[in-house]
């Protein structure tokens, strides 16, 4: 089964090996470990391994958006507020320098301790969060800054006020804005890519996914509650809809898998950031020379082609 997916992964790793690091050093020291990871990733995950990935993706010690920003973005300035009503702490937006270029960064942010978790609503954005992200995207488009979007959200917040403030419409319009952008956009699923709340900021030219991240249409618990009428069947549901990086790569949902330190990103933030930074840089390098109109045409064509069906026959 590896086939094409493995080839893409190998190509990605070989690209990584040729790349300069932020500081100018080479990745050579990491290569051996990357080779081992390749072998690990390329093997078809079992149901248990898929569930282990779900747990790793949700690991409370996993690096969040701000951990990566601190390690990868220079001259960082966080921007606050949607200029309409509120500032949603579950959504981070800001400007800074990455790979010696000015960039806009958008990212979901969970909290580390109980207090911060509550303040950031466990990373679940309100419509205000998506409007804040859209404000940052418009800024990027105006100034020609590339956009880096880090996705790590259990799901858009399912609350009364969120509905009253237009959760569904905000997610739709955030995607519509991304489909209109004339600047390079790279997204990476760095933890939980939870359904509509995730795709709202992931309509990008290149979509990357960390080795132990998950990308789902509904949470495994939600799916189990509906289809099995028992949320305890979540591991079964996860195995059925295959939310892991390799399957997403195979289905053409993501463009490449970003390796993590052995044992998962939570074991070594610096190494995880270095690997993510190299992948983001490689993805952006492919986009800088493409004109704005072509970028957006290609971006739309890419998403219109994912999982496309032809006149199929049912057996």
């Amino acid at each position: 089964m590896p086939g094409e997916a493995e080839l893409r992964l190998r190509e990605h790793l070989s690209r990584l090996s040729r790349m300069r690091l932020l500081g100018g050093a080479r990745l050579s020291g990491e290569l051996k470990r990357l080779q081992e990871q390749l072998e690990r990733i390329a093997a078809e995950p079992t149901d248990e391994e898929i569930w282990a990935r779900v747990k790793l993706a949700r690991d409370e010690d996993r690096p969040y958006t701000m951990d990566y920003v601190a390690r990868l973005v220079e001259d960082w300035i966080e921007l606050h507020g949607d200029r309409l009503h509120a500032d949603d702490p579950a959504m981070i937006t800001g400007i800074g320098r990455f790979d010696s270029r000015s960039v806009v960064v958008i990212g979901n942010q969970k909290g580390r301790d109980i207090k911060e978790r509550q303040r950031r609503n466990f990373g679940m954005a309100y419509p205000e969060g998506y409007r804040k992200a859209m404000r940052a995207m418009e800024l990027a488009d105006r100034h020609g800054f590339p956009i880096i979007s880090l996705v790590d959200i259990p799901g858009a917040y399912p609350g009364v006020v969120a509905e009253q403030h237009g959760q569904g419409g905000a997610i739709a319009r955030s995607q519509a804005l991304m489909a209109r952008l004339r600047v390079p956009v790279v997204a990476c699923i760095i933890g939980e890519g939870g359904s509509g709340g995730a795709i709202a900021t992931a309509l990008a030219d290149r979509v990357l996914m960390q080795e132990n991240a998950i990308y789902t249409v509904i949470s495994p618990e939600g799916c189990a509650a509906i289809l099995w009428r028992d949320s305890a069947q979540a591991p079964k549901a996860a195995a059925a809809f295959k939310p892991d990086a390799l399957h997403c790569l195979e289905l053409g949902v993501v463009d490449s898998v970003v390796p993590e330190p052995a044992g998962g990103a939570q074991t070594n933030f610096d190494e995880a950031a270095m690997l993510l930074g190299a992948s983001l840089q490689a993805a952006l390098d492919e986009l800088y020379d493409i004109g704005g109109d072509d970028l957006r045409r290609q971006r739309r064509a890419k998403f219109r082609a994912i999982g496309a069906v032809r006149a199929a026959t049912r057996v």
């Binding site: 509905e163 569904g168 519509a176 209109r180 990308y215 509904i218 289809l227 998403f303 219109r304 069906v309």
Partner: protein
């Protein structure tokens, strides 16, 4: 002699199907109708104005001029990309849905005329797997956008959907950006999209193309919410307002342009087609 309480009989009409109310019994006021009565009333309760669900075929009959509907993409069928199996295989659910609805998928698209004005219709059917959006629904909506752009006519989408189809996993989620990109392509071509939200328009469909209409109207009493009331209640333990997520609440909060009773929908769409159709 024993008295017979007629009012109670009226409020609790016969339930022949083992507790399940008859489809022609109004769930709101309990009135019961013959099929032809409901049909002439556009499947709206003449007594309390409750809007009964409408299949895609009936909706097209109600909206399009006789004989003008020209279906596109009717040969499209879902396969089973994940070999999904919950309590039953996905392929079995698909086959059953096709048998019971006579439809190939949860959306029907095609060209039509409304009061003599040309348009493209994309109509969803809740009775096909809860109107869920998988790859075929996404593809049909995208084709409807292209067809509308090509012919220079407005697209009218009529949604009725529980959201993305779980059985196609992440590929269903990818129908959100896919349909959004298709609508953006239509808008770039100078085209118009009119979104009619009917009961229910929720989750993935609300969070994608349905919310991108140049004009958005809703049927009275339709549930229009990203997350349904049951899940909101369970996750947040919040007390829900009585009109949580209903069309009326969405209107109050500024998310839809108008609430349109079914009998007024066709004349309103004709008016919109006269306004927007000139561009084509």
């Amino acid at each position: 002699m024993e008295k017979i309480d007629v009012s109670i009989e009226h409020r609790h009409p016969p339930e022949p199907d083992g507790g399940k109310p008859h489809p022609n019994t109004c769930p709101k006021c309990g009135s019961h109708y013959r099929e032809d009565e409901l049909e002439t009333n556009l499947r709206v309760c003449p007594h309390c104005a409750h809007h009964f669900p409408v299949t895609a075929r009936t909706r097209i009959q109600q909206l399009a001029d006789d004989g003008t509907f020209d279906e596109e993409g009717e040969d499209l069928r879902s396969d089973d990309p994940l070999e999904f199996f919950d309590l039953r295989p996905y392929t079995e659910r698909l086959a059953e849905a096709e048998l019971s609805t006579g439809l190939g998928e949860a959306m029907v698209i095609g060209g039509a005329a409304v009061e003599g004005l040309q348009c493209e219709l994309a109509v969803m059917d809740f009775s096909f797997m809860g109107g869920s959006m998988g790859r075929v629904v996404g593809e049909k909506l995208a084709r409807a956008c292209d067809s509308a752009a090509e012919r220079g006519v407005p697209l009218i989408s009529v949604t009725a959907s529980g959201g993305a189809r779980m059985q196609e996993g992440i590929l269903s989620l990818m129908q959100l950006p896919k349909t959004v990109c298709a609508v953006e392509d239509l808008h770039d071509a100078g085209g118009t999209m009119i979104s009619v939200m009917t009961h229910p328009t929720t989750a993935g469909v609300l969070a994608s193309f349905a919310s991108l209409g140049d004009v958005i109207v809703a049927e009275p009493g339709a549930l229009i919410s990203f997350t349904g009331p049951r899940v909101v209640q369970q996750t947040t333990r919040e007390k829900l307002p009585d009109d949580f997520g209903l069309a009326e609440s969405n209107y109050r909060f500024g998310h839809v342009d108008a609430i349109v009773p079914r009998a007024e929908l066709r004349p309103l769409l004709a008016k919109l087609l006269r306004i927007f159709g000139n561009a084509g």
